[in-house]
Amino acid sequence: MSGPNDRYDPKEVSALSADELDAAVTEARAAFLAAGDLGALATAHVAHLGNHAPVALARRELGALPPQARADAGRRVNDARTAIQAAYDERLAQLEAERDERVLVEETVDVTLPTDVQPTGGRHPLTLIQERVADVFVGMGWEVAEGPEVEAEWLNFDALNIPAWHPARETQDTLWIDPPSGGVVLRTHTSPVQVRALLERGAPCYVVAPGRVYRQEALDATHTPVFHQLEGLAVDEGLSMADLRGTLKMLAAAVFGPGTTTRLRPDHYPFTEPSADVDVRCWVCLGASALPGGEPCRTCRSEGWIEWGGSGMVHPVVLASAGVDPERYSGFAFGMGLERTLMVRHGLSDIRDLVEGDVRFTLSLGRED
């Protein structure tokens, strides 16, 4: 397509003519449009923007032009090339969008397929309730105290003002470690931790002690020989039953929900004086079942209240056994069964569910709520 090689009188070659360039642009546009996929477009790219494309050849001829003609022709060639490139880019974007669309459709999966490759784990509801309560008290500045499950008789009984002849020490209540006269028991309550905490820390002392305890009892729907208690103890100057009441209200709200009503009822424990039982207002019937003509309530057995735990002001003998001066310090203590707490809280009817370790049961309750 090169013109005659006439060095003295360079003249325009046809490739640089406006018509030729327009035609090249028109052809390129048509070719790009005709390309149905990215492969065909690549081929068309070579033909119309490659090294041997008309605009490329035209650019090469520019050098042969006389200077006065070169600027004009150069602009025409550039315009043509820009137009072709724009047409290509547009088509490329179009075809890529079409491809992406198609691929994403092809890659679509059923997102409802099961995904549980590894079975789920969880912690035991008794562990969670212990942590939950501990956290509430730690938030108030209390600490979490611990003690051994196999415990000295003195700490489990004597120091708690339960004298040697007390029925609680009998073998129908207490599990004794062999030899039976050896002075070692499976702790029957978490109360020995009270004494340990006082012995270790002295007064003032604010501790909760969740833990496992043991009684000589056969396993049935409402009893288990191995169960868990939560013990609380506060010893300081000037503590009163009003402090006990307020603390229990707060604990009830933390465990059963805000607004839970509690009541204290006189009772007897050797290690507290005065002593009180803690009842929680039945939140199912709100006490209506206990009124004349009330609908029976299964949750509270129509008593209107649910027995939750024991409490009281620490007996002077207990304080003295732990080396705390009962003339100067007073304190309160409380204790509740955690299995019972969970049974009431979740409406469970059989304590064995908490004991047997069936993973279906544990997973249903083994989460924060």
């Binding site: 009163s240 204290l264 004086e273 047997e356 370790g357």
Partner: protein
């Protein structure tokens, strides 16, 4: 204690209040009313009727009567299976439609070929006695057609009260009535406030040998009792309502007095008692046949009432058969005594012989009550059984004086958190029965009443004031604790352990810590293994499981098997907690209560306990990764158990080394020991097939058990940050041929040491064994990731690191680059 409200009303005029209200007030005052029974309220349509005519029906297996009745307005016919009545008798007639206790509906119905228009009721059917064999025959003065519930006084409410061990006085209508009067603020009439005759030491010869165990012994001598006199219906009904069975007039009278005022009484047949009565300790070898017919061996811990023949009663617990009153008894020795509480409770438990009397003595009986209690019984026997007017009393009274308690007047208010006025404190204590003598401006000298032996220290008096003022009136305040230290490090780390295992798919269990002796055998443990159970419960819950666990595994395996048995095939469980291991130690020192033990005594207490280390364990079976559309899944294996241990260590920042070991109950070729430094942490792996068979677990079951104490102690105090390089990493793969016996861990360790600081990580990505390798060898392919802190590594540097790493593996282990 079952208290009929009608009985209460004899001593306190509560007026027209609902029994539920009485119950609520008693509960608030500390006498917990478990239940209120509304007797008679469920009886309807039962009327007074007279028997007009009786026709004996024949041809049936038992005698059947066809009875014509007059119910005041009409004549009715009923079929009756009882024969204890005659024409003219007054009966209780259930006239259809009628309702009997328990909701039984009575309609006219055809029976024995006759249409029975209702029925004639027995005492049991009306719920007023135990009498089932015959119908109830009523006094002739009743009006025909009247409602039987009203005419017979069947309507009564009964309070069922749970009595605490410190409230012996409430085991009587007298004690409960006093509380009712106090809670309503109304007067109380004391049934024990009766005139008693002056004691007459000549009436009978009585002595007390052991005044510490019996400080009062009163005897009344009654003669001329009509042994055939029956208990009147009111007496039987009261006893029945209170939960006791009527037996005979003399016994019923004694029981009535006991329920009424709380004084246990005992009656001896005077004709069968020989010689003087002595209250003394039993002599070793002595025996007694008690009223329940049991021949009992006695020893010097037993207190007995004895005559010339030996023991004739077990003091405070039960009388003897040899002096029992019988159907021919006319002369009686009536005992009203005061025995020491601990002694009686010990005897009752030792002989497994709880009685109404022992229940009361255990909780404390009013020691001033004996004369009044006896007098009440004497009067009833005179009135109902014709006992002679002369009933002389011997009263051996060696009671110590009652001590007084010094109470700081503001103590009740301080302990309650409510300021009580001094007047309030004094009034409440007087309501309880205390006598108060002013002893100073700030202190009261308080003498508790004879019926409150439980009041011993100031705090006891505080409880009386607070309970009567009402626990419900206490304010609620939350005390401010000093700043706490939060959870301890161990407590935080233990939570981390639980969360880590739960997140890894393990479900926590809290299994029973009781195991049988065979548990060690099933785990294939040697006799000297510390995991053999060694702490034994003297009185186990189940005789088959007398030991406490010395390893967590048996409980985990039992729970695992239970889950598998319930069709849950893929199970992974974990447990943390103490195990119990015997250690030789002296028995704990015997220490008194109320005194802080010395530090060395406390140390001795702790030393007397078994070792109770904390452990963590997992057990798993079935599929660790489930099969599904993603592939065939992966069965739980030894590697998961090892990984559980490694995961814990990694999460807590503890470096562990894993090595092959042989350790029951694990498969000898699939058992890993985990160490922290030189300290053994625990073991993990697949269980030995013999253990699996013995434990009845699925094949391939794997487990891990570590010492939680060792693990947590190894957690570094302060985590240190690793410097992070922002320069690009390079990676080089090496395949090393090694003998099969060389563990991967050793190769990794050699590569690491050889690679030095520039070697960021070593990861095994392929294990190959095959014909292209020398026999007994395998090829291990590792990716070494390399990186420098301060520059981009050149390929020369990377190859140098690789060569250095391989060189160590070659030098130490004979690795050959493949």
């Amino acid at each position: 204690m079952r208290v009929p409200v009608s009985w209460l009303r004899d001593y306190v005029d509560v007026g027209d209040v609902d029994s539920r209200d009485i119950a609520d007030r008693l509960t608030a005052a500390g006498l917990q009313v478990e239940r209120v029974e509304f007797l008679g309220s469920d009886i309807q349509g039962v009327v007074i009727a007279r028997v007009l005519e009786i026709e004996e029906l024949t041809g049936y297996k038992k005698p059947i009567r066809w009875v014509r009745l007059d119910d005041g307005t009409s004549e009715r016919h009923v079929v009756c299976g009882a024969s204890n009545f005659e024409i003219g008798d007054i009966v209780a007639y259930a006239r259809p439609p009628a309702t009997l206790p328990g909701g039984f509906q009575i309609e006219a119905r055809k029976t024995y070929d006759h249409l029975s228009d209702g029925m004639i009721c027995s005492g049991a059917e009306l719920g007023i006695s135990e009498e089932r064999d015959g119908i109830l025959r009523l006094p002739a003065d009743l009006t025909l057609g009247d409602d039987a519930v009203d005419a017979l006084g069947l309507r009564d409410d009964v309070l069922d009260i749970s009595i605490n061990p410190d409230r012996g006085y409430a085991l009587s209508v007298r004690g409960v009535a006093r509380e009712v009067a106090t809670s309503y603020g109304i007067p109380f009439r004391d049934p024990a406030d009766v005139e008693v005759p002056a004691p007459d030491t000549t009436a009978y010869q009585v002595s007390i040998d052991d005044p510490a165990s019996c400080d009062r012994y009163l005897l009344r001598v009654l003669r001329g009792i009509d042994p055939t006199a029956p208990s009147p219906r009111w007496l039987q009904r009261r006893l029945t309502l209170a939960g006791m069975r009527p037996i005979s007039l003399i016994v019923d009278v004694a029981n009535h007095v006991m329920l009424d005022v709380g004084q246990p009484l005992h009656t001896f047949d005077a004709g069968r008692v020989s010689g003087p009565i002595v209250v003394r300790r039993a002599r070793d070898g002595e025996r007694i046949v008690t009223l329940d017919g049991v021949d009992r061996q006695l020893d010097s811990t037993d207190l007995v009432i004895a005559d010339d023949s030996g023991p004739i009663a077990l003091a405070g617990v039960m009388g003897g058969a040899s002096t029992e009153v019988t159907e021919s008894t006319s002369d009686v020795l009536l005992e009203a005594a005061h025995f020491e509480a601990v002694l009686v409770s010990g005897a009752a438990r030792r002989h497994r012989l709880g009685s109404e009397a022992s229940r009361r003595f255990e909780r404390g009986v009013d020691d001033a009550l004996a004369p009044a209690g006896a007098e009440l019984a004497v009067r009833l026997l005179q009135q109902l059984a014709g006992a002679a007017a002369e009933a002389p009393a011997v009263d051996v009274d060696v009671r110590p004086p009652r001590p007084s308690i010094s109470l700081t007047a503001d103590l009740p208010g301080r302990l309650a958190g409510v300021p009580y006025s001094r007047e309030t404190v004094e009034r409440r204590l007087r309501e309880v029965g205390c006598e108060i003598s002013e002893s100073g401006e700030a202190t009261l000298s308080v003498t508790p009443p004879s019926w409150r032996p439980d009041l011993r220290i100031p705090a006891d008096l505080v409880e009386e004031v607070v309970r009567l003022e009402g626990y419900a009136a206490l304010p609620a305040t939350v005390p401010t604790a000093p700043a706490g230290r939060g959870l301890t490090r161990t407590q935080r780390l233990r939570r981390q352990v639980g969360r880590t295992l739960a997140a890894a798919g393990y479900v926590e269990v809290l299994s029973s810590p009781f195991v049988d002796a065979g548990s060690a055998h099933r785990l294939l443990l040697d006799a000297d293994d510390p995991r053999v159970p060694s702490v034994r419960v003297a009185n186990p819950v189940a005789d088959t499981e007398p030991y406490l666990r010395a390893t967590l595994l048996p409980g985990l395996f039992t729970t695992l098997a239970r889950n598998v048995g319930r069709g849950l095939t893929d199970v992974a469980l974990f447990e943390t907690g103490p195990v119990f291991r015997h250690r030789d130690s002296p028995p704990p020192p015997r220490l008194p209560a109320g005194v802080r033990p010395s530090d060395s005594d406390l140390a001795a207490l702790d030393a007397s306990l078994p070792d109770q280390p904390q452990r963590v364990a997992v057990a798993l079976t079935g599929m660790r990764q489930r099969p599904g559309w993603w592939g065939p899944g992966r069965a739980a294996a030894w590697s998961d158990a090892v990984e559980a241990g490694r995961l814990l260590a990694r999460t807590l920042g503890v470096e562990v080394t894993v090595s092959a070991d042989r350790h029951p109950p694990f498969h000898p070729g699939r058992c890993a020991a985990l160490h922290v430094g030189e300290t053994l942490l625990g073991h993990a792996g697949e269980l030995h097939p013999r253990a699996i068979a013995a434990l009845e677990l699925p094949a391939g079951t794997s487990a891990m058990e570590l010492s939680l104490d060792v693990l947590l102690a190894a957690v570094p105090d302060l985590a240190t940050a690793v410097p992070v390089s922002a320069y690009p990493a390079g990676s080089v793969d090496v395949a090393l041929v090694l003998p099969l016996a060389v563990p991967v861990a050793a190769v990794e360790s050699a590569l690491r040491r050889g690679g030095g600081d520039l070697l960021e990580s070593v990861r095994l990505f392929d294990v190959y064994t095959g014909s292209q390798l020398p026999s007994g060898h395998r090829s291990l392919a590792f990716t070494l990731r390399l990186r420098a802190l301060d520059h981009t590594l050149t390929s020369e540097e990377m190859l140098a690191v690789r060569d250095a790493a391989v060189a160590v593996a070659t030098a130490e282990l004979g690795a050959v680059l493949r």
